[in-house]
Symmetry: C2
Subunit: 183 residues, 2 copies
Amino acid sequence: MSDLTPVFEPLAFTSLTAEETEQRAALFLDQCRQRRTVRDFSSRPVPRSVIDNCLLTASSAPSGANFQPWQFVAVSNADIKRRIRVEAGKEERAFYEQRAPAEWLEALAPLGTDANKPFLETAPWLIAIFQQRFGVTASGKRIKHYYPTESVGLATGMLIAAIHNAGLACLTHTPPDTGATAQ
Amino acid sequence: MSDLTPVFEPLAFTSLTAEETEQRAALFLDQCRQRRTVRDFSSRPVPRSVIDNCLLTASSAPSGANFQPWQFVAVSNADIKRRIRVEAGKEERAFYEQRAPAEWLEALAPLGTDANKPFLETAPWLIAIFQQRFGVTASGKRIKHYYPTESVGLATGMLIAAIHNAGLACLTHTPPDTGATAQ
């Protein structure tokens, strides 16, 4: 059996009626329209089991050749969140004060964002999302991933849906590109 | 008011109890784990209103600077689906028979895919998803989009969640890169 052979799981599929399908599609839309991108978070704790389940939902997303080219790192430790905020703050200031083209700053202005990101400390959880351009099989073989950016986007879209569905708020925050990651 | 000024909608937010949050996160995971990537579709019609609602859900996703750099084209017309299948088939054959590196074909082999994509005709709807690297404001100004690939991924992830939630099956199918789109 090749390293790449997936395990196929049989599916017991129950068809919904046309009416149920229509109702569920409308209800999910109503629910998702309640989602907002927020930048002020309550520090109220969220159980790790909730984050785990949302991440497992995200990782059920399809991906190029089913290689699941993502890594999610969930951080709730206050000291690590502080260090992330401090390091991210340096990049944010360099971005807003030096690197950002005028057009980009103009695009961001109506949203009221700036280099200050207190939510990196106040939110109970940070989820760092990494894209893996290459993977390593169980036997140590290096394999290329296909459509990793698109695939990580799919998983993150499902993550946002899962978090929102659980009654929580989230912010999709992209730290300024330092050159460490290729866009 | 600038072309770029967003309209902010107030949110009446109802907090869930911790117990509700836990239950909903677990339930959504169970539900999403029932999703499969399938390549054999029923031709049973799906009402346009369902597709519309799923696409509206997708377009509620966050995006870089909230520029929503996506375009969804839903196709149910049998003749257009047939023409898409014919044209896509040419590219698929060129990919599988000539362009695809051996490593890529090896990655796809366990999934059993080949150049033949009958689902492009049998599925009641095809949704073509386009990424816009640039946009045009109401006054005709050309503006750059930020993180368009990631943003379209988020919207598509929410689309997959919406379609699955409605009891329907979908396949995320990436036509071979003909050079018309930059990866």
